[in-house]
Symmetry: C2
Subunit: 645 residues, 2 copies
């Protein structure tokens, strides 16, 4: 896999993701930059940049003015922003933005201690306690995000300063945990996947070794956090070290069979594991990743790609427990599932992994952001009931409308960095094969690898047709184009220059090999028929119910389109569902669905012996990612289905 | 209402409640007596009696050995046990038990301070803090339970010692809160209803005045608990005084419209309010009670009579939020709903109040106890899924099997005292009218009021026929017999000596007036047809589902009767449901139901586009109160309903 090339040179064009790219550049990143600099009136203070300034001052003069402010992992906010900015710069050069980034990077460099150590919380506030609370203090987590940002910044701008800084920190960690044999492993995984990126970008073996170290020691001494807690005399939150499943430390990772604990931590860990398995060929690790991925996607994932059913600990619960209204389904966790699935796809080229990436991206992740890019959900329920959602003690987390950005800065920059780097997931280049996993319109510069450019023209997901065009530097591009055939597309037509293509279909991909020139067009027509989705009867919440899907989009009913009462609605079994024309003005451009259904009268009495009367009706459905953009409102994904009335 | 007579002289006979009465006498009370005395190996220590001994010793000698142990409200366990024992003694004289009770009562007397104050926590452990933490320390709650026990003991045994002790404590409270004008009201209501009982038993006006005081001041200064917390420098649990709805102190009680907060506290408060409203004719208070009762029963009550949807705070949540699998529905709260409804029935003679009492008694309360009387549920969910229930972080409270009695002693003795005094709810005597609210077989001695005995012969709820017989002391009993006609009984036949009765039906009661002699028999035949129950579509959890009811019994499907997979079952709409013969050996004697339904194949895939295939099947249903008596097992009350397959 040494020839794996990451996709950085991709110009997203108009269309579905073009709008998001613009939002990230024009709205999300600038807003967040001001937030990090505490320039937004009325917003929670970030103090991120100020923390770095204080650390730099302290290192220079032995003391600093003011006090550290924010979460113990506050540094990671700067990191995620820099990473998002890097991706954006790769696509949209912006000298002023780059200069500001460089300035922050210089500051980061000044905040680094002589031994390479870099963390403002411990440098400014608690120098004697560094490395003493791996379970809670998230030093390795912050280092991981800083490393990811440094790699991205180097890859996107060609500048190495940030990378050098973070190599210094990685070396520091290597010395401590490998050379000096310090015990322990991160309470919040992230460093593993970051070190794999660092290794891939620098080819320095010890970074891979260090990643493998943290993967290998995890859960081997499953009492580590208990012992650590006994030794230290301070806490961050007072997390229980005995809850070992919560920290994915209940068993060595190769023996873990169920996705447990904090969902984001889990999928970040599994991402690192899958990347390491790919890079090292470690079969046992690879098998563990497959087992965990199957457990998630067959037992612990919402139809939206959301994961982590419980607010309590933002965590996985048990197999087949997928409540709709109390779902946590954190935006970051859906993003992490994309990371994990993306690595699995490298490990095993099977369309099922890309199917899950697409499911999470178009539903669980996009729903996390208001259509105008200014508000965010951390929690993404599949059913919302005003008066209960966000209000009942059991539903405080499940807000019915997106709050104003910026109380805690975890999901928003994660959405930004994902959307700004969506090409990495959409396209894989492995040897002479270009894998088209997700269908994002734009032009891919493969001059360095396949000798030309490939562009995809499509209005997907609101059009079923996709055209691949080629711009060889000279002559033709001799390559294999491997196009994912989504599992939901029952009949897919692939043609080359208007003729049915002679291609091999294998594990969810259509492989077309040939010499592709300027005049060649590969056309794919997916089957965007509306489909009903049924959940296994193992899942209690959805028995007797169906969801509606078209292409990658899960649809939902909102009160505003349905007489403000969606609880009285049921879908007609085998009833027709018609698709509206494209409505460019509605919800930033969607196609609605109109399903044949029934509307019941509402019994005023809480309980009665009379079955409610039902009348045929039409149910209007909108894409899940657009819900909650029209005020306080009921919403439901899983709708009871009836044969007749 | 001064002529209201409480029903104490009732001999429960064989039949449904006869079995329970025997259980309480032979199993529940003896077991609990041993528990209170710390004589059960392996059980949680109670230390209750020991706490009283220590308090007595300290008062006698100025010091005591050992330390107080248990909850701050540990005294209430002794109280509830004594109350249950009193009721049992009234029906089953037992000189040895009575002597042991007297001994405990003597000890209680010795633990009382000179000023009447009685509470072992504060006497033994924290004498300087008494009355400083009304929100959490539950002194008034304990006093309330002790008063209830004292009243019951006096009424059932004719002995006044305990009553004198508790009048001393009530007088102490009166001096403090009325005469001296101390601020505040109880964090856990109970004293109000207890004082009303004390007033009714003693006719001492100041006890009614004191009850009214606590009712009247509650929520008027809604910041009281905040101020109290600022003044004191200690906590019990650290409860938040700002959560005013939780403590029913957000508004004066007459202005409260929604049942909020801790469910048991709420219904205990409302019970006291309703009793006071009845006794004083306070129209405004009466109206508030009706509003609150309607809110509970029309928006916040499970079909089993369980109330309090959330584990968090054992609390009410919001209107129409009734999740099945995460329900709290504490056994004590269902008992409290019976208390409240019983008082409402005195306030307004309407069968709906008795309907709710019956619903809660036969379902939400009885389910709280294992059929053999040795294990108890605090939490009574309406759906149980092994692997999730009791295991997922969100379901730790919703245990799938009853735990071994005695970790915390709140529900078990409450069940015992309710079952031992069930006649008080079954029968009301008001002037010359005998109200038959619940149908408990047995003989009622009304010699003092109506000049004879009335007995009810029935195998209800497994038989539809009830016979009322009369044993006048001489001649005939000139009276009105008012028999409740349950709302679920579509056709009810009432006859006197075989002839259709000429009776007035009014607000759910049939009134038969006449002179009833030894040869007279009033026969009631209820309609025990199986009924489907539907929830208002305002309740999300039950849309598309039905429950099955026969008589007062809500039925449920358990895995053990249904191939260990009840999630694949649906009821056939308008399908037949047949009733088994009485099965004396199954679950201590039940009638099963066999419903026409469908069984779907289980899709292995979590999500699929294929609707599951269904085949007709027979669904076996058992009464909800019997669930969980056959090991770890699925259970579901609300089952999807289908028109056809």
């Amino acid at each position: 896999m040494g020839d794996l090339k990451l996709v950085r040179k991709f110009a997203v064009e108009d269309g579905f993701f073009g709008r998001y790219e613009k939002l990230v550049k024009d709205v999300v990143l600038p807003y967040q930059e001001r937030a990090l600099n505490d320039q937004i009136e009325g917003a929670e203070k970030s103090h991120c940049i100020e923390n770095f300034r204080m650390a730099a001052q302290k290192l220079k003069s032995g003391r600093c003015e003011g006090t550290f402010y924010g979460m113990v992992f506050q540094d990671s906010d700067v990191a995620k922003w820099l990473e998002g900015a890097a991706y954006s710069l790769a696509q949209n050069p912006d000298a002023a933005l780059e200069a500001r980034c460089d300035k922050i990077i210089d500051l980061i460099g000044e905040a680094q201690q002589e031994d390479g150590y870099l963390n403002t919380y411990f440098t400014v506030k608690d120098p004697d306690r560094r490395w003493s609370n791996l379970q809670e203090a998230h030093e390795l987590y912050c280092a991981g995000h800083m490393i990811e940002a440094a790699v991205a910044y180097a890859e996107c701008t060609g500048k190495s300063r940030f990378l050098e800084i973070m190599c210094g920190m990685a070396d520091h960690i290597y010395r401590r945990f490998v050379e000096e044999g310090a015990e322990g492993y991160p309470g919040h995984p992230e460093i593993e996947l970051a070190l794999m990126r660092l290794y891939r970008s620098t080819s320095v073996e010890r970074y891979k070794e260090l990643a493998m170290h943290f993967i290998n020691v995890r859960g081997v001494d499953s009492d580590y956090y208990c012992k650590e807690k006994e030794k230290r005399n301070w806490i961050v939150w007072g997390s229980d070290p005995e809850d070992k499943e919560y920290t994915q430390s209940h068993a060595p990772v190769r023996e873990q069979k169920k996705a447990t604990g904090h969902a984001v931590r889990a999928v970040y860990l599994y991402t690192g594991m899958a990347d390491a398995a790919m890079e090292t060929g470690d079969e046992e690790l690879s098998k563990a990743c497959k087992t965990l991925w199957d457990d998630i996607t067959q037992h612990r994932m919402y139809v939206t790609g959301g994961i982590g059913s419980a607010y309590e600990g933002e965590a996985f619960t048990k197999d087949d427990h997928l409540p709709n209204d109390t779902a946590y389904a954190e935006t970051c966790a859906a993003i992490g599932l994309i990371f994990f699935s993306n690595k699995m796809l490298y490990l095993e080229r099977n369309g099922k992994y890309a199917d899950v990436m697409e499911r999470a991206l178009y539903n669980g992740v996009l729903a996390g952001m208001q259509l105008d890019g200014t508000k965010f959900f951390y929690v993404n329920p599949l059913e919302v009931l005003p008066g209960i959602s966000g209000e009942a003690k059991t539903h405080k987390h499940a807000l019915p409308v997106r709050p104003k950005w910026f109380a805690c800065a975890c999901c928003p920059p994660n959405v930004a960095r994902l959307l700004a780097s969506v090409a990495e997931y959409a396209w894989h280049v492995v040897s002479d094969t270009l894998f088209s996993n997700l269908f994002i319109a734009g032009t891919l510069d493969l001059t360095d690898s396949l000798g030309g450019k490939v562009s995809l023209k499509t209005s997907y997901p609101y059009d079923n047709k996709m055209e691949y065009h080629f711009e060889p530097q000279e002559g033709a591009m001799s390559m294999t184009l491997a196009i994912r055939i989504p599992a939901w597309s029952e009949e897919t037509k692939i043609s080359v220059n208007g003729e049915a293509a002679d291609c091999e279909i294998r594990e969810g991909y259509a492989y077309l090999s040939g010499d592709f020139g300027t005049d060649d067009v590969v056309t794919v027509e997916l089957d965007l028929s509306v489909r009903r989705v049924y959940t296994s009867n193992r899942v209690s919440a959805n028995t007797g119910r169906a969801a509606v899907q078209r292409g990658p989009l899960i649809y939902c009913a909102e009160g505003v389109d349905n007489e403000n009462d969606i609880l009285s609605l049921s879908l007609k079994k085998d009833g027709e569902v018609t698709v509206s024309e494209y409505l460019p003005k509605k919800l930033c451009g969607i196609q609605e669905l109109y399903a044949q259904g029934y509307r019941e009268t509402v019994n005023e009495a809480l309980y009665s012996f009379e079955a409610p009367k039902a009348e045929p009706c039409q149910i209007t459905l909108v894409p899940y990612y657009t819900w909650g953009n029209r005020g306080l409102n009921q919403m439901r994904v899983w709708i009871p289905e009836k044969n007749k009335i």
